[in-house]
């Protein structure tokens, strides 16, 4: 597998480097609200203008699909969750490019939410209930609640009556708001984002637990993308805050900007993964697509 990927990398890279016409492909996941196509058009145009090359956003349902695209070289950059980042980082598949700054810091949380009218007050109240996870590769939407259960020495299958993945933080909020699930775990950034643009949905949910802070879902580049493109992308993103249209785009994303941070930003997630694996090494084989 690795050989295959390496081969692909060597094979694709020269072509991409050689041709300015080859678009830069940017993978997006559920860490950001991807429904607003007009915004994505504006952002890609902005990036194109700054970098001088065509930028295409590529969307997939799950993190895993995006990670596969990244591994196969079909995309060059991706905005992924901290959990797949640490997994892939260990395999030297990607590099940390830049980290969004949200409310002044590169951190976010996991929210455990329930329906606003439900009697549940703490996470333990959800035992024997139905629970919605966001994505099996999501830190806030899966790893964190998994760690909470693992701490109690249980598995999700035993702890909850029913669990399911929505593969999307926004849909987890919807699942809880519409009482398909009694509880759910979501990315705080997404929840707050929805609270601004679709408050009628978040109003139907109540946060019963807020996790410690984790490193914000970062933007990564595939190992093998030429250094020029990588640095150009990093610079472009981090300088968005300095011009008007870049600022407008950041406002739309409800972000303060992008900044370079050390890989240690994600050590809390690594610790979480470690804790979960210790209790339940089988968690990583949860069935997904």
């Amino acid at each position: 597998m690795r050989l295959c990927i390496l081969f692909l990398l060597f094979w694709i890279t020269p072509i991409q480097a050689a041709s300015a016409d080859t678009p830069i492909r940017f993978g997006l996941t559920a860490v950001v609200i991807t429904e607003n196509l007009r915004f994505l058009d504006q952002w890609s145009q902005y990036l194109e203008h700054k970098i001088g090359r065509k930028v295409e956003f590529v969307q997939r349902r799950s993190y895993r699909e995006v990670m596969d695209l990244l591994a196969s070289g079909a995309i060059d950059f991706a905005w992924i969750c901290g959990y797949p980042y640490i997994q892939a980082k260990d395999l030297d598949l990607l590099q940390l490019l830049t980290v969004p700054i949200y409310r002044g810091s590169p951190h976010y949380h996991s929210y455990i939410i329930v329906h606003e009218s439900s009697p549940y007050k703490r996470f333990s109240d959800l035992k024997g209930r139905s629970f919605a996870f966001s994505d099996p590769d999501s830190n806030s939407g899966f790893l964190y609640p998994l760690a909470l259960i693992a701490k109690r020495g249980e598995t999700p299958e035993n702890y909850f009556r029913q669990t399911f993945f929505t593969f999307n933080h926004a849909e987890t909020v919807q699942a809880v708001a519409e009482q398909v699930a009694d509880g759910g775990a979501v990315d705080s950034y997404i929840w707050e984002y929805i609270a601004v643009f679709r408050p009628q949905m978040t109003e139907k949910t109540r946060i019963i637990k807020k996790s410690p802070s984790f490193g914000f879902p970062p933007i990564v580049n595939r190992v093998g993308v030429d250094a020029g493109t990588v640095s150009q992308m990093r610079r472009t993103l981090e300088e968005m805050v300095d011009d008007v249209s870049g600022k407008q785009l950041l406002d739309s994303l409800k972000l303060d900007g992008f900044g370079s941070y050390a890989d240690s930003l994600f050590n809390e997630i690594r610790a979480l993964e470690h804790a979960v694996q210790k209790t339940n090494p089988r968690h990583s084989v949860v069935k997904t697509d």
């Binding site: 699942a175 519409e178 009482q179 398909v180």
Partner: protein, 491 residues
């Protein structure tokens, strides 16, 4: 109550009522049929839709069920139920669910009431029965509430299989509420149109029946006029149409004009008969008065020539006296019964008895039987003129009967009426002269004045009595007179 007595209703009213009733019932029948057909068609369409929706869910559901992807299952139901901006809101999904083989909820459109992973809890007994039925279904089926109500539904039930293993069932329930409203509004429109038709139909019916019955009413009025005897002032019925009614009108007009002509002819005949009678009276008076007058004038002439001839005077004065008395009698008899002759002289019924002797004297030597029977009380007061009536009738009877004839006199009381019956077994009255027998100066006797029966007639008339004559040729004649004259008894 007369209002509800249908036999007293006019034909025009009955006819228009019948037309209205026919129009209404036909309209209602068609309307009900339309509404029922509409409703059935709607129901069938809805059932088909429910099944189609369930089947669309059943395509992807088994895979998601095996993966326990409850969220996809839920979204598939939700997306199906959500109405896009361009969606036709003809049906409303009230319930949609995916249950596993044990009846556990895998997804439900209303997750708050039906949480996933728990056994489906039916709302009520009916719902429970449906649930049981749905769980036994192994081929796509439609379950429906069946009844005509707003709460009715059509439910598409499609079982789920994966590699021939039964996984569960998809149930999609569509409400008939909007169809119900649609049907109701159709019904209202149909009812309103029927009402309109009824109004138009009734108006037309009234006009038609008036046209038809108008002629009949005119004929009826004409017949009523005939019944009252008013035929001459009849105005012909206007003939507005052909057909039976028209022909009837024409025929009726013809009959009426002929009747009117006949009536006029009759009146003319009556008038000429009156003139004839008058002529006869005049002639009679002239003749009867003229006869003695000639003799009288001769006597007076002779006496004037021989004023001192005592013998002549003695011979002629009685003649003049007799002649003048005859004229007086004639005039007296002619005036009988008229107001100027009316007297208030009363006699008792007992006084009638003396007439018996008088008649016996009149008969003299002839062989005639008088059978006298007076059963009245003798002290009843009756007008004096009654005597003359009886006397004249008896005289006539005695004169007419042959030798060995029988004359019967019968008088009795009937309430306040006096009934007199005089009969004989004479030759009877010839039929051709029966209507003349009471005319003045009409006589069949050589020396008669023709005033006897005339006097009887006038007297009876003046007393508001009734005369009846029964006569048969060769058998005799009976005069029956009833006089309403008994009011008091003699003191």
């Amino acid at each position: 109550m007369a209002l509800f007595n249908t036999t007293s209703w006019s034909l025009a009213f009955k006819l228009s009522l019948t037309i209205t009733a026919v129009v209404t019932s036909v309209g209602f029948l068609i309307g009900i049929l339309m509404v029922v057909q509409d409703w059935k068609r709607f129901q069938n369409d809805l059932a088909e839709k429910a099944l189609l929706l369930s089947e669309s869910i059943s395509i992807t559901a088994p895979k998601a069920m095996l993966r326990k992807d409850y969220w996809s299952l839920y979204l598939s139901l939700k997306n199906m139920a959500s109405k896009g901006p361009g969606a036709r809101s003809e049906h409303e999904i009230t319930d949609a669910m995916i249950l596993d083989a044990e009846g556990m909820v895998q997804a439900h459109l209303h997750p708050a009431e039906h949480p996933i992973g728990l056994l489906f809890s039916p709302r009520d007994e009916d719902d429970k029965a449906l649930f049981r039925e749905a769980m036994t279904v192994r081929t796509p089926t439609v379950l429906s509430s069946g009844d005509f109500s707003k709460d009715g539904f059509q439910e598409g039930v499609v079982p789920l299989f994966s590699d021939q293993k039964y996984l569960g069932v998809v149930r999609v329930r569509l409400s008939v509420a909007s169809l119900f409203e649609k049907t109701m509004s159709t019904a209202v429109i149909v009812l309103l149109s029927i009402l309109l038709f009824v109004i138009i139909g009734s108006l037309l019916g009234t006009i038609v029946s008036r046209r038809v019955v108008g002629s009949l009413t005119a004929i009826t009025r004409g017949l009523e006029a005939v019944g009252r005897g008013e035929m001459t002032d009849f105005s012909p019925i206007p003939v507005k149409e052909g057909g039976e009614i028209g022909r009837l009108s024409v025929t009726f007009n013809q009959i009426m004009s002929e009747l009117a002509e006949k009536k006029m002819l009759e009146e003319e005949i009556a008038m000429s008969e009156k003139l004839v009678a008058l002529g006869r009276i005049t002639a009679g008076v002239a003749h009867e008065v003229n006869n003695p007058l000639a003799g009288l004038l001769n006597c007076i002439d002779t006496l004037r020539k021989h004023p001192n001839d005592k013998v002549l005077i003695d011979r002629y004065l009685p003649v003049i006296d007799q002649g003048l008395h005859r004229i007086k009698d004639i005039v007296h008899n002619l005036l009988v019964g008229l107001k100027i002759e009316e007297s208030v002289e009363m006699i008792t019924t007992g006084q009638v008895e003396k007439l018996h002797d008088l008649v016996l004297a009149e008969i003299g030597e002839r062989e005639i039987d008088i059978i006298w029977n007076n059963t009245t009380d003798r002290d009843l007061f009756i007008p004096g003129k009654t005597e003359q009536i009886i006397c004249n009738l008896l005289k006539n009877a005695v004169e007419i009967v042959p030798e060995n004839g029988i004359v019967r006199f019968n008088m009795h009381q009937r309430g306040t009426s006096l009934v007199i019956e005089v009969s004989d077994n004479g030759p009877g009255v010839a039929t051709n002269i029966r209507n003349q027998m009471f005319d003045p100066f009409f006589t069949t006797k050589p020396n008669g004045t023709g005033l006897g029966l005339w006097v009887v007639y006038r007297l009876v008339q003046s007393m508001q009595g009734v005369i009846e004559v029964k006569s048969e040729a060769g058998k005799g004649t009976t005069f029956l007179i009833e006089l309403p004259v008994i009011h008091r008894r003699a003191a």
